[in-house]
């Protein structure tokens, strides 16, 4: 009897544990609506992403997942047309330059934030002042660094003055992080948790680590969007997200890894969109180390790497182009396409022999994510073929960032997303000597090049800027400081019930014109 009692109490204990777990579950459970079938024409869309947003304030974040959600809730003064790549006014109505240092921006009237705060010159001034404030330490503060003052001229006119003429200003103002926020909401609370913008979707809820939900802004100034609700679901494993797309648990995924493309292509209910994009991926040399600072060595490597062969392994998700500034980035000129040192194994071998680089030991540093490992393996094989002794060192991303910024590497692979699609914003951070020790990881230093990049930044005339960027681009290509491995293709895969989705060459997208049929 006693024994039975003991057994009973043990089982009771286990039951209580289970019940307790159940009680606490209740508070953590969300609406649980992501299992709906795709045949339902409800205007709802679930988007899967491999990581969570960091926050939902454009001022305080700087990552692509956060940007994707921020794009739907907030808006910028200017936008880049995804087809023509021209910059056009958005929340701005028009602008003029009375002189090279002054930008008078007229704003759209009758726009309100989701919390009812009117959108006006005060809101723009507040946003940009916060963006530039040292205390706030905005991660993308550098976008507006050249702006000296922001003045309210009247209710719907704001005047930006720059220290020097600043060419890429419109590109900077069209960047997601330069979105205009509701001053009232920012003063009252944390925009990261409770975002308030003027965009087509209103924020509902963020379950950290799990999902973000938005709903249609019925009072949107361009008319309410067709989608009634949007959910971003965190699915860390890409192949799981693909399965969820197949079963209709999610309807939209983006940034397709090359190895998943064939599987997605074989699915009947899924459509794929691919577009030439702004990202560039490259092999870079540490210019502070021998023999990587020797132009002949860099030329030899560039001749030895068969980029056509590499790109052919990407299942079409990359374009070969010798230019550092990619075809979809402002400042590109066709002339750069085949400039520099295309694959020529004979030239590579003879350069290596002439300069005594045979058997030179080199270590390729590669981060263990994206396509970097694949790049490293292919480049290793090709450089070995050319007569170098190549090994690969791989690292996890956080360690990699640290190691490269300290300059503890010889050659490495990296990418740049070009989210403003402006060449100045590519060449200045990555290759200008001002940024050696931070974002200029290769420590490239060339006074003539610096001068050209400076000019591209301080000129307001866009044609002159384009010319300067092209010259700078050609110079860096000739210097062989980067071997551009490929220029990115931006991708999305969606359920066939989804209509109207347009990818931007920067990889961003807006759900405003999207509907389900």
């Amino acid at each position: 009897m006693l024994k039975n009692f003991r057994l009973l109490s043990v089982s009771l204990f286990v039951l209580v544990l289970i019940a307790l777990a159940g009680c606490s579950e209740e508070s953590g459970a969300d609406s649980g609506d992501d299992g709906e079938s795709s045949s339902d024409v409800a205007q709802e869309l679930t988007y899967a992403t491999t990581s969570d947003v960091v926050g939902l304030s454009p001022i305080d974040t700087n990552d692509s997942v956060s940007s994707a959600m921020i794009e739907q809730v907030y808006e910028t003064l200017f936008v880049r047309d995804p087809e023509t790549m021209e910059i056009k006014p958005h929340l701005a109505e028009s602008y003029e330059n009375p002189d090279d240092l002054t930008w008078v921006i007229h704003l759209k009237e009758d726009v309100t934030f989701h919390d009812g705060t009117p959108f006006n010159a005060e809101a723009v001034k507040y946003t940009f002042d916060e963006f530039k404030s040292e205390e706030r330490a905005a991660p993308r503060a550098s976008l507006l660094e050249p702006v000296e003052s922001i003045e309210v001229q009247d209710e719907y006119t704001v005047v930006l003055k720059t220290k020097e003429p600043y060419g890429p200003l419109l590109a900077a103002l069209s960047h997601t992080n330069a979105s205009i926020v509701s001053p009232e909401a920012d003063k009252a609370g944390d925009l990261n948790q409770n975002p308030v913008g003027t965009g087509p979707f209103v924020f509902d809820e963020w379950v950290q680590g799990d999902s973000v939900s938005l709903s249609a802004n019925e009072d949107y100034w361009q008319g309410a969007p067709e989608l009634e609700s949007v959910t971003m679901k965190v699915v860390p494993e890409y192949s799981t997200a693909v399965s969820m797309l197949q079963t209709g648990e999610v309807q939209f995924i983006d940034a397709i890894p090359t190895e998943q493309l064939p599987r997605l292509e074989s699915m009947e209910n899924v459509e794929i969109q691919q577009k030439e994009g702004t990202p560039v991926y490259y092999l870079g040399f540490n210019m502070n180390k021998e023999p990587f600072n020797d132009i002949n060595f860099r030329k030899a490597v560039s001749y030895a790497v068969d980029r056509e062969a590499y790109v052919s392994q990407l299942n079409g998700l990359g374009v070969k182009n010798n230019s550092i500034i990619g075809p979809k980035v402002f400042g590109y000129n066709e002339e750069a396409k085949d400039a520099g040192y295309s694959y020529d194994p004979e030239k590579a071998k003879s350069l290596i022999e002439e300069n005594g680089f045979e058997g030179q030991e080199i270590t390729l540093l590669a981060a263990n994510r994206d396509m970097y490992m694949k790049m490293a393996e292919i480049v290793q094989a090709q450089l070995t073929e050319a007569g170098l002794d190549v090994s690969i060192e791989t690292m996890e991303w956080g360690t990699f960032l640290d190691t490269t910024s300290e300059g503890n590497f010889e050659m490495t692979f990296l990418g740049w997303s070009n989210s403003t699609a402006d060449g100045s914003e590519l060449l200045y951070p990555n290759l200008h000597s001002d940024n050696i020790g931070s974002s200029n990881r290769m420590a490239y230093e060339n006074a003539e090049f610096d001068q050209l990049v400076n000019e591209s930044r301080v000129t307001v005339d866009q044609d002159v800027r384009k010319e300067k960027l092209h010259e700078a681009n050609m110079m860096a290509i000739e210097d062989g400081v980067w071997v551009p491995m490929h220029h990115g293709i931006v991708t999305a895969a969606f359920d066939q019930s989804v209509e109207g989705l347009q990818l931007d060459p920067t990889g961003q997208w807006s759900l405003y014109n999207v509907s389900r049929k």
Binding site: R6, G35, Q208, M244
Partner: protein
């Protein structure tokens, strides 16, 4: 018994201090700077310095450790470097998912493992025994991520019986149970295999004991001997394995959570490690360590119930 609990509690405290020190130091000494990750590739050195000051990372490591411990003693696990959420809040909002998953996996493991082991033992060398031993070996050897991906392909994508991911519905609803099935099988398989092997060998040992032969000789029915006399005595080592496994399951949900998009503590930990979010890593490791020790203490207490000969006084 009270003495045992007190003793274990003191041991737990010491252990936690040790673990927190080790984790704290290894996170700080490991390469990778939280500031460079938060600042992104465009941050300048002065931006990074501002971020470090903001996070208190510019102080000496030992000072940082003592500041941290002072907080922990007062019940404050600190705030996430990434999004400033309180670490306790981040953990409590995710723990139920992990606990549900671990309990469901344990149920899968016991329901499959114990009967399989016992039947194998009673029918030693039969086809059942041979095949279950082989399956058990396979179960231990199959990696989680592969098994999970295969289950998704078969049961969600092809047969469309079960959803692919997430534990969004409460587990007592039909939807919630359906969501739990695949992750629980994925995580529970290896434990089921271990429990089966342990049950089999423990049972074999007991069945050969003198008192079992005596019982049979006295005319007690075969089934009564097996399920009443033998099982009870064979359970001690099995309970040990179950306890240990439950500890592992609680701390080992990382891959399963990753594959099935479950928002649990394992994923919180792995994301925090990648982002060098020190306070969250420390908080989650302390939690897992505590659970492990507490589960083992419970196992010791359960021994005393199952086998009255065991006494801790």
């Amino acid at each position: 018994m009270v003495g045992l609990i007190m003793k274990r509690f003191l041991q737990l405290l010491l252990l936690l201090v040790g673990i927190s020190f080790l984790v704290f130091m290894s996170m700080h000494l490991a390469p990778g700077d939280p500031a460079t990750i938060i600042g992104g590739p465009t941050a300048t050195e002065s931006d990074l310095q501002a971020i470090r000051t903001d996070l208190g990372l510019d102080k000496p490591v030992l000072v940082q450790y003592f500041d941290y411990i002072r907080g922990v003693v007062q019940g404050d696990l600190g705030f996430s470097f990434q999004n400033n959420q309180s670490v306790s809040e981040a953990i409590t909002s995710r723990f139920p998912q992990t606990l549900n998953l671990a309990i469901a996996s344990m149920i899968v493991a016991i329901v499959i493992g114990v009967p399989a082991g016992i039947i194998s033992a009673i029918k030693q060398n039969s086809w059942f025994d041979v095949s279950s031993t082989t399956v058990a070996l396979a179960g231990i050897s199959i990696p989680n991520f592969w098994l999970g991906a295969m289950l998704i392909l078969i049961f969600s994508v092809e047969l469309q019986w079960l959803p692919v991911g997430g534990l969004s519905a409460p587990f007592w609803t039909i939807e919630g149970m359906k969501q739990l099935i695949l992750p629980a099988i994925t995580l529970g398989t290896a434990s089921a295999a271990m429990i089966a092997r342990m049950s089999r060998s423990a049972m074999l040992e007991v069945i050969r004991a003198d008192y079992i032969r005596t019982a049979r000789a006295k005319g007690v029915k075969r089934n009564t001997v097996v399920w009443v006399h033998a099982l009870r005595n064979a359970m001690i080592p099995v309970i040990t394995v179950i306890g240990l496994n439950f500890g592992f399951l609680l701390g080992g949900t990382i891959i399963t959570e990753q594959v099935f998009a479950i928002n649990g503590v394992g994923r919180l930990m792995i994301d925090a490690i990648a982002a060098r979010d020190f306070p969250v890593v420390q908080g989650t490791v302390l939690l897992v360590a505590t659970l492990f020790v507490v589960v083992n203490l419970l196992v010791d207490i359960i021994y005393a119930f199952v086998d009255p000969r065991i006494s801790y006084d």
